[in-house]
Every structure is written in C-alpha cells, then in structure tokens.
C-alpha cells in the first residue's frame, strides 16, 4: 500500500476491517522499522533507565523503612516520603510502561481526570476515621469485637 497517497477511502477500509491496524504499533508509528533499528534501541534504553530508577526508589523505601524505624525518624516524615516515592513510581509506570505518555493529550486527560475523585475519597474517609477515634476516646465507648 502506498502510504503517501492514502485517501479517506483507504482509511475507511482499514477502519472497518480492523481499526487496531490504524493505531497499533508497526503501521501507526514505526512504518515498517526493524526491531534492531535506531528508534527501537532508543526506546529499550528508556525502558532500562526507568527500570533502574524504579529499583533505586524501591531500595530507598526499604532502607528508609528499616533505618528510619531504627533511628526513630518521626512517623509523619517517613510517611510523607513513602507517599511521594510511591506516587513517583506510579507516575513512571503509567507514563512509560503503560505508554500513557505517548497517547494524545485528550486521551491522557480523559484517563487522569476521573482519578482526581481520589482526592475527595482519601480526605473524606481518613477524616471520618480520625473523628471516630476522637469520639471513642472522648466518650469512653469502645467498639466491641463480634
């Protein structure tokens, strides 16, 4: 197929047959490139870089978990650091491993906006838990085992 003169008719034919051909891999992005091509090797390098990055963060988390506990670093400090490192790891997995960083802007926004619900979700429920503890302490009522 001559890609330079691809008309709407060709695109429609492809779309109705198997739309994935339009958007997936070889036809969509790499135009028949080889696995050993320059572009391919660059991408593999990027994957290995992210792997090393994720490994280092995980190692740091474990070290902080053990050492921080040993030395007695305040819980709030270690917890904040753990959450930052977790979100960093999550961002890299979604962006590079799940290729969300390579999608169109509309697609990225469509996936990320619903996740903002978590902001309310976490604040509301942890506040509820904290309030419950406060009530138990101040009223002297303790919840019972079944």
């Amino acid at each position: 197929m001559n890609t330079q003169h691809q008309s709407h008719v060709d695109i429609d034919a492809l779309y109705q047959g198997d739309q994935s051909k339009l958007y997936s891999g070889l036809m969509a992005e790499h135009h028949g490139a080889d696995i050993n091509s320059e572009g391919s090797k660059k991408q593999v390098k990027r994957i290995i870089k992210v792997t090393i990055f994720l490994t280092i963060i995980t190692a740091l988390e474990v070290v902080l978990g053990l050492w921080g506990h040993h030395v007695g670093v305040p819980r709030a400090v270690t917890s904040a650091l753990f959450l930052i490192m977790t979100l960093l790891k999550a961002a890299y997995i979604v962006k590079v491993f799940m290729h969300l960083g390579d999608e169109t802007r509309n697609m990225i926004v469509t996936i990320l906006i619903p996740l903002t619900l978590f902001i309310w979700f976490i604040i509301a429920f942890l506040a509820d838990g904290g309030f419950w503890l406060h009530m138990n302490h101040s009223s002297g009522i303790h919840y019972m085992l079944p």
Partner: protein, 253 residues
Amino acid sequence: MSTTTAPLPASVSAPKVWGGGRSPFNVSYGKMMMWFFLLSDAFTFGALLISYGTTRFFSSVWPEANAVFYASPFFGDKNLPLVFVSLMTFILILSSVTMVLAVHAGHYNDKRGVVKWLLWTIIGGIAFLSCQAWEWTHLHAEGGWWGSFTDLSMPASAIQHFFGNYPGHVLTATNHAAAMQATHDFFNYFFTITGFHGCHVASGVCFNTMILINTVNGTYERRGHYEMVEKIGLYWHFVDLVWVFVFTCFYLL
C-alpha cells in the same frame, strides 16, 4: 455558522480530529475500554485500601509492619524485616519490565521477541504468586486469617509480637481489647487486599499464557499487529501498579 465557505474535497482536507472515521484519541475501541476497565479497577482497589486506612485511623493501636513481616524462607525465625517482601516487589517490577519489552517487540512485529519476553513475564508472575503463597502460609501458621483473633480471653502476650517489642508498643490491660480488634482488622484487610491482588496476578498469568499461545500459533502475525499484547500489557502493568500501593500501605506506612 458560516454558510459561504465551500466544503473542501475530502481527498484534499486533512481529516478533522472529531470529524469521524478516525478515533480522536488515536486508540482503538478495545484499548480504550481496557483503560476504562483499569480505571474502574483502580477505584475498587482504592476503596479497599482507603477503608483499610480508615480502620487504621480510628484504631488507637495498630500492628507494626516490621514486626509482622519479619520472616524469609530458608532463614527460619531470623529477624529480617521487609527483606522478603522487597524481593516480591522486585520480582513484580521485573516482570513488568519484561512485559513492556514484549509490547515493544510487538510494535516491531518481532514474533520471537514477543514469545521470549512473554515467557519471562509468565515466569515472573508465577514466582510472585509462589512468594505470596509462602507468605500466606507463614502468617496463617502465626494465627492470622480471615476472622482470626476475636477471643478476648487470649492474653495480650499472645499478640504482643505483632506490635513489636519497642518502648511505647507494650500492650496493657487498657488497650488489650483495642489491640485484639486491631489485629483482627489488620489480618482481615491483609488477606482480602493481597488476596484480591493475587487473583489479579493469577488471571494476568492466564491471559499472558493465552496470548503466548496465540503468538506462537502466528495469530497476531496473520492479523498484522500485536495489539492484544499491548492490551494485556496494560492489565499487567496495572497489577504491578496496584502492588506498588499495597506495598506502601501494608509494609511501609
């Protein structure tokens, strides 16, 4: 709306993004639905982890991760906090890497590469599940299970080791009931959440095996693209992503 502009011939104009014929998101239906499924699954896992957090917030005492997860296979009762679970986390990260390499090979229609990396991914998934089976067995032997630790006549000394032997962590008559409740809640959440995650890993191994068979049979080669590997890859990375949060919530915080 302007009525004076004559429409350009279809063959001349570049296709409009929202003009039909092409996906404005530049993804196929199947891939987008996989993303939306994962979004819904993220809320399921999120709900589980947040309810775990809520329970933890209203408990005045809570088991200490370093004291609960201290054991490793082949090391008996040696105190090695976090070591084994770090290994599990590393295995899952590596299997995620091999999966992304399989997807990458698929992008270039490299059948041999896809087969090789899918095999490694399946091995990683099975290794992770084996580690989890060991950990569950170990915690079960320590008395933890769904619905365990409800007997208030059990002395505080029997659950003290879950809270560690640090100053300020000593259970007394006043916090004994709360500690028993917290241990009970902790194990319920632990087995539910890691169990639900383990089910995802197990089904991911099944999906990977299915696409491996299809790849070997040349199904995707004939189809002209390896998009199925991409879609299953998304699922597999998501499972890894969830573990990142489970690891933080249960073992670190």
